[in-house]
């Protein structure tokens, strides 16, 4: 384009008009529109399943199970939400998952931040070995230890108890927490710590009075990521939990059965209401902490 207009100056009228058009507002819109179309497609693609779940959750059963489909409910209702919340296993699951994911997160942060302090602020022999160990744990296939955990857990009478999950979930939350928190620890400047040492602080005091407050944002991010990972876990929960009162959210979501008790027609309205209930808090948290999550994810993956 530009070479044409430069070499063919004398006969450049149509070209320059085209150029002027491209520079005008409308022109910019027209030339950019395929790009924006692409943006819109990505947008719809990413959000549609969630929006469809939302639509189905508010649609009464008689409209939900009739063809042709109505894309917006004629008589929006909250019935599906009340039905989902009336299922006692689902209410238990919300509580159980909060307990499990919460404890796993707190444990990982407590234990992991100590390790991150050692790995991020001290130089010692074996440091890189520990780093590699933790990294290899983050890609560890959990299925490989299912049988061993299964027998160990039943030996310690933890089968069908939430403790079994808290214990086994540490395998994927802790190494990840250590790895990400170490990168946060390393990024801190040395001066503050040194000033504290000059003032006579002990390493432990330096840890919880100086460093820990400084990596608070890192703790929030890492904590949220660990929480989401534990909240979403399915394989161990499916294998170690049996009674409906001890279900976690992923198991409960797949356990709804139709009112008549027949599994023939699944109560999709109720299931979709349940999916909205369990994902909405996550989505809100993720959107609020968006920037930090991106930082944490890339620290965990790209720098790895």
């Amino acid at each position: 384009m530009s070479t044409v207009s430069e070499t063919a100056r004398p006969v450049s009228r149509p070209v320059s008009r085209r150029r002027a058009f491209r520079k005008s507002r409308l022109g910019r819109f027209v030339t950019r529109s395929p790009f924006y179309l692409l943006v819109v497609i990505i947008f719809v693609y990413a959000l549609f399943p969630f929006l469809w779940a939302l639509r189905s959750a508010f649609t009464p059963d008689n409209e939900l199970f009739s063809t042709p489909l109505q894309y917006f409910p004629n008589h929006p209702t909250l019935d599906n939400f009340t039905a989902a919340l009336q299922a006692s296993f689902f209410r238990h699951a919300l509580l159980n998952s909060t307990i499990v994911a919460g404890s796993v997160t707190l444990l990982s942060l407590a234990i992991g931040s100590l390790a991150a302090y050692a790995l991020g602020r001290f130089r010692f022999r074996g440091r890189s070995f520990v780093m590699y160990l933790m990294l290899s744990m983050t890609i560890f296939p959990q299925i490989a230890i299912l049988g061993a955990l299964y027998t160990t857990i039943s030996k310690f009478h933890l089968y069908d108890k939430l403790g079994a999950l808290i214990f086994s979930y540490l395998i994927f939350t802790l190494p990840f927490t250590v790895w990400v928190l170490t990168s946060f620890m390393r990024a801190l400047p040395r001066d503050l710590e040194e000033a504290a040492y000059v003032d006579g602080a002990t390493p432990i005091q330096v840890f919880y009075k100086v460093l820990l407050p400084l990596i608070a944002p890192g703790l929030v991010t890492t904590g949220l990521l660990a929480f989401i990972a534990a909240w979403n876990e399915y394989l161990f929960a499916l294998s170690f939990i049996q009674s409906p009162n001890n279900y976690t959210v992923p198991i409960a979501i797949t356990s709804f059965v139709g009112k008549s008790g027949s599994a023939f027609q699944q109560p999709w309205g109720e299931i979709m209401a349940a999916t909205i209930i369990v994902t909405l808090p996550l989505i809100v948290a993720v959107l609020v902490l968006q920037k930090r999550i991106l930082a944490g994810l890339t620290a965990g993956a790209v720098k790895g």
Partner: protein, 308 residues
């Protein structure tokens, strides 16, 4: 190390520092004890135990005592057609999803990397599929793919893309495509975000210089973007491949333990928890572990080669 700043008399310096160093090393290990203990107890010990169990005929809640059977389980595994089928299904799934996720993810990353209005919103939106639990996402899609009341069939027939409604999940010819669709939907934005992070560290003046030299968009992409993005691409591919190889959730929600659509992980879980064959299941676990390790080795050697 941190108190190097404090003045130390030259004579005692060496001994003093080594004493300090030793104290620091001790403290560091002390801080690591809880984490290492957890890793040892939750990962390394069970892994060792799995290897041991794989040489026995252990059954869950067995009446007879467990016996050492040597390589018997592995011999059986070699002739286990169900397992072989599961391995190929898993690898097929891995190749399809990782391929699509990478291609689509790169395209999305390039779009989002250019500046336009609403870019921030776009990045936020991309986190939504990632934040939705896999099991929940699978349920959402299962409903969307329903044979009679699913929106995919409805929209497809209305737009004349489909001639008739499809039983996407129960029909063996579309079953794999259906699970792949869920995984691709859930993970592509994540891949895009990782690649985007890689794109953003490429300095802008490189493109400006290329522009001055008259390089075309395609040339810029091939000579600047791809080589500089290579490390991020490799890491993303490794993480995705390893993740895809242990896939469990989507398949289980869609098909349960239906034999024609078992993945390695589902067959393994079903053998251990469903049938109680702990010994044989352990052998399957070890095999899966080795298969995944093989992929790691392939990637790492590939990485070394491209670095040289």
């Amino acid at each position: 190390m941190s108190s190097v700043a404090t003045p130390v008399p030259p004579t005692g310096r060496r001994r003093r520092r080594s004493k300090l160093q030793r104290r620091q090393t001790r403290l560091a290990w002390l801080l690591l004890v809880p984490s290492l203990a957890v890793v040892a107890f939750v990962a390394i010990y069970p892994l060792g135990k799995t290897v041991y169990q794989s040489f026995t005929n252990q059954e869950f809640l067995a009446l007879e005592p467990t016996k050492w059977v040597g390589l018997e389980n592995y011999r059986e595994l070699l002739h286990d057609t169900v397992f072989r089928h599961a391995v190929w299904k898993t690898i097929e799934f891995t190749l399809i999803t990782v391929g699509f996720e990478f291609a689509l993810g790169l395209a999305i990353a390039l779009v989002v990397n250019s500046s336009f209005k609403g870019r921030g919103v776009m990045r936020a939106v991309m986190l939504v599929p990632w934040a939705i639990p896999t099991v929940v996402a699978a349920q959402m899609w299962k409903w969307m793919l329903d044979d009679t009341f699913g929106v995919v069939n409805d929209a497809g027939t209305r737009l004349h893309i489909l001639s008739h409604s499809q039983a996407w999940i129960s029909d063996p010819s579309t079953a794999l495509a259906a699970v792949c669709a869920v995984d691709i939907w859930k993970t592509t934005p994540f891949v895009a975000l990782l690649l985007l992070a890689g794109l953003q560290v490429i300095p802008g003046d490189l493109y400006e210089a290329a522009e001055v030299d008259g390089a075309s968009q395609l040339q810029q992409f091939r000579k600047i973007t791809l080589p500089l993005l290579a490390p991020a691409i490799l890491v993303t591919l490794i993480f995705r491949t390893l993740d895809a190889l242990r896939v469990f959730d989507v398949f289980y929600v869609f098909f349960g333990n239906r034999p024609d659509t078992q993945t390695m992980a589902i067959y393994n879980q079903d053998t251990i928890v469903g049938d109680g064959h702990v010994g044989y299941g352990a052998a399957i676990s070890v095999a899966i572990f080795l298969i995944i390790a093989l992929f790691v080795v392939i990637y790492v050697t590939f990485m070394r080669v491209t670095e040289d």
